[in-house]
Amino acid sequence: MTPDNMTPDKLNELKERALKVREHIVRLSTGGGCFTGASLSCADLIVYLYSGFLNISKETLTDPNRDYLLLSKGHDVPALYGMFVELGWMEKSRLDNHLKSNDHIYWHPNRNIPGIEFHSGSLGHLPSVSLGIAWDIRIRGGKNKVVVITGDGELDEGSVWETLHVASAYKMNNFTLVVDRNHFQANMRTEDLIPLEPLEDKFRAFGCEVKRINGHDFEQLEETFSQLPFSSTKPSVIIADTVRGKGLPSIQERADRWFCNFTGEEVDSLLKELHGEEETTLTSETLIVR
């Protein structure tokens, strides 16, 4: 089912935007590199949320009535940088400062970048920070939405479940947790290490209302997010099934392509690969410790 407001034009706009964000991610994956695969799995979610769902604009980045998006899986920050450039919140030239000490563009989010609500990098923190934000909004009678994106490997952290436990006890219906379920943690498939499935059941057992969708399908994203809050008495959880490395078949779902630091030639080739050309033969180092 296509929701009424997801017109063919809107869908094309989102897809074009997502392609541009992915290009930014690939360009950031050299000269020191970044967490390319996780950024690509999250890119469509980020593009969707900032393209109309969240009530936030360049003029309202610090407005108390804005909607909040917090990125708890900090490795995805290249997707945010790319999105902020596309939104006009950040000068494109700042991406050239990636990993340079003259700016604050590095591997994890930080508040020196307008639009980034809070720093992350240590997993399992931003669900509780988001709950604090949601609590304040609720007692002020605000209508702001609060969305926190976690990884799936991040769900190993007990603090995520502490937060859900408390959020459901207090019926925090303005709190939404989205899982970028790309089925990988740093070095392994999640199900090969500490299996997470059946994941919906676990969230339901913690008192959440859960929906599971394809996190790369803008129509499903629109249909699902437009139903928030899913319950008037429960926190909402969206499990967005995604693919690590989405858009780049040469690194897609490859356990050894977590952190990528490509050569200049590889970047040129990967940019073409994003547009459907043939897979790149990668020679750059894999399994970098970060």
């Binding site: 108390p64 508040r111 609500e117 809070f118 720093h119 240590s122 923190h125 931003l126 669900p127 509780s128 920070v129 988001s130 709950l131 604090g132 934000i133 949601a134 609590w135 304040d136 909004i137 609720r138 007692i139 603090s159 502490e162 937060t163 436990h165 408390v166 006890a169």
Partner: protein, 313 residues
């Protein structure tokens, strides 16, 4: 006036205040109906409480967080450091039963590295009131400040009337050219009584209630180090990282030294029991402090030509 009354009045006068607890309500049990949704009991989820406090602070609130010291700042340490510390948010950490106040609980509850851990966090301030009245004199300024703060709550009755509080300033009870006792927290009472014993023996004894360990009263420490023959640090804390370390850092930074006798816990937890038992077993009662200070004072006078840095605990 007591702690609950102070926090109630503070929160009723200023809606930015939010009172949080990880299921430690004893001293603030009457507040839920008064503060409504500005009283948040997160259950036994200390790290989640601190994360939530950071979120509330991002929205302009001043969260005052309560839990037993070990759980508030050790269980949740990385949340304190990472969420409150990095963002420098005005989250106020109110810790119960730090130091010897955990008396019979055993080592799981002994917060005797709290000063060390908290003072390493950039921007974190650290305060240890001597007794209830001292605490009530200190808290309004601590809570009103824009900085994150850690406070060893102390509701024990006091032995003196305290001066008004100023962050970064110690309270000088007396000055003495022979010995100066530097103390913080609940051991102030024992130090006060030890000072009386020392004076009865003819030693000119200074006594300082440190109050603010970060920022610390560096000027005062340098002054007593220069003017007292023996400086004594008294703390229910590990020798590592507490007041003794703070003084060592200050003296070194200023390229000077002093004869310093530390009373602290050196590489060990303390023997659990009723507080009076703990003080006696660990050698922190006033007569025990006075005896050791007297002995050391006599010994160090012999060393006057060649000052020694006394490290025996």
């Amino acid at each position: 006036m007591n702690y609950q009354e102070l926090i109630k009045q503070t929160a009723l006068a200023d809606e930015r205040y939010v009172v949080m607890t990880a299921e430690n309500r004893a001293v603030i049990r009457d507040l839920p109906p008064i503060l409504g949704h500005r009283f948040i009991d997160t259950g036994i989820t200390e790290q989640n409480m601190i994360g939530m406090a950071a979120g509330l602070a991002l929205r302009g609130r001043i969260p005052v967080c309560h839990a037993l010291a070990t759980f508030l700042i050790y269980r949740a340490y990385e949340f304190v450091r990472t969420d409150v510390g990095i963002a420098h948010l005005p989250v106020k950490l109110s810790s119960w039963i730090a130091g010897f106040l955990s008396d019979g609980n055993g080592p799981t509850h002994q917060a005797i590295e709290d000063v060390a851990l908290m003072r390493t966090i950039p921007g974190m301030t650290v305060f240890c009131p001597a007794d209830e009245n001292d605490m009530l004199a200190m808290l309004p300024e601590i809570w009103a400040s824009a900085h994150p703060a850690y406070v060893r709550l102390n509701t024990r009755p006091g032995v003196i009337k305290h001066e008004p509080f100023k962050t970064g300033k110690a309270e000088v009870i007396s000055e003495g050219e022979d010995v100066t006792l530097l103390v913080y927290g609940m051991l102030f009472e024992q130090a006060y009584k030890a000072k009386e014993i020392l004076e009865s023996q003819g030693l000119k004894t200074g006594l300082v209630n440190m109050r603010s360990l970060k920022p610390v009263d560096e000027e005062l420490i340098l002054k007593v180090s220069a003017t007292s023959k023996l400086v004594v640090t008294i703390e229910d804390h590990f020798l590592t990282g507490g007041l003794y370390s703070i003084i060592a850092e200050i003296l070194l930074k200023n390229r000077t030294t002093a004869n310093v006798l530390p009373f602290a816990l050196n590489e060990r937890w303390f023997r659990p029991g009723l507080l009076s038992e703990v003080l006696n077993y660990e050698g922190f009662t006033a007569p025990q402090l006075a005896e050791k200070i007297t002995t050391t004072f006599k010994e160090q006078n012999k060393l006057a030509v060649e000052p020694a840095f006394i490290t025996a605990g």
